[in-house]
């Protein structure tokens, strides 16, 4: 599966605005809504609500990029925003704020610079936790 990179940047921009609003208003429900958007987009990038908006407003650029990095990033976003929603909704404001701040940092870097923080952290995490995939298979 391949996706339009301009659509991804557009979605990251909306995501940044939404998470900024979460931080400003401290709304756990808004954080939860963004977490749901992340979950849908991770599952089916073409059904992503922001992708639908993009296709409604613009002509797709015709460029294509692989979907796997995008889906992984959406999954990371989901983890942060559902943590944030949980924090805000249970009264753990600091947790809600901190998790949303990381989510905003990642979304903003993606929107403004095209960097994917979650994708880059992936190898680091695998390095720390994983064994050689080959040796795992052969066991």
């Amino acid at each position: 599966m391949e996706l339009d990179p301009r659509g991804q940047r557009f979605a990251a921009t909306i995501t940044s605005v939404v998470i900024a609003l979460v931080l400003i208003t401290g709304s756990g429900w808004l954080a939860l809504a963004q977490a749901v958007v992340f979950a849908i987009t991770a599952y089916r990038p073409k059904w992503g609500p922001y992708a639908l908006v993009y296709r409604g407003l613009f002509t797709p650029s015709g460029e294509r990029e692989p979907a796997a990095p995008v889906r992984f990033a959406q999954l990371v976003g989901f983890v942060f925003l559902s943590t944030s929603a949980g924090g805000y909704l249970t009264g753990a404001e600091t947790l809600g704020l901190g998790a949303a701040a990381f989510g905003l940092l990642a979304a903003f870097l993606n929107a403004a610079f095209g960097l994917c923080l979650g994708c880059e952290a992936y190898l680091g995490i695998r390095r720390l936790t994983g064994r050689n995939a080959e040796s795992v298979r052969s066991v």
Binding site: A73, L109, L115, E120, Y122, L123, G124, R127
Partner: protein, 153 residues
């Protein structure tokens, strides 16, 4: 809070824009001119660390050839750009071999080579020394310039 995150994000983004794709000279490397041509073998300069041939073999690197060794993962969008640039350079310079490795299935080697991010591109000389290292996407001219120093004139 929003302002703090955006300022921090801009700082990170600008720093990465400056450093990404830069082909850094590896720490303990050969002075230019004394590289691959010394095939007589006797006087190996002591300060250079050659990589373990067994490690290189596990990564699919052929001995005796200048190699662009690329580390990628499935979740890495810029890896595609590095593959394209390296492929074009390898097509242009037939002495060069481009090898792309799935970092995830070679975690031991990834640790040994101190690789943390993808894409990371290593330039290996014919004796298996890392002469340059880049994270991010290097430009084609920079890559060719870095390789030119390793090839016989």
């Amino acid at each position: 809070m929003v302002g703090v995150v955006l300022v921090a994000g801009s700082a990170v983004g600008l720093w990465r824009r400056r450093t990404d794709g830069r082909l850094r000279v590896a720490q303990s490397t050969v002075p230019p001119g004394v590289t691959a041509e010394q095939t007589d073998g006797v006087s190996e300069p002591a300060e250079i660390d050659k990589l373990d041939p067994a490690l290189l073999e596990r990564l699919g690197v052929e001995p005796g050839r200048v190699t662009l060794l690329q580390f990628s993962t499935a979740f890495c969008a810029p890896c595609r750009a590095v593959r394209r640039v390296s492929g074009e350079v390898a097509a242009l310079l037939p002495e060069i071999r481009h090898v792309e490795v799935d970092a995830e299935s070679h975690l031991d080697e990834v640790r040994a080579l101190d690789i943390w991010r993808t894409p990371t591109l290593l330039i290996l000389d014919a004796d298996g020394r890392v002469t340059r290292r880049a994270t991010g996407v290097p430009t084609k001219p920079h890559l060719i310039a870095a390789l030119a120093a390793l090839l016989p004139a």
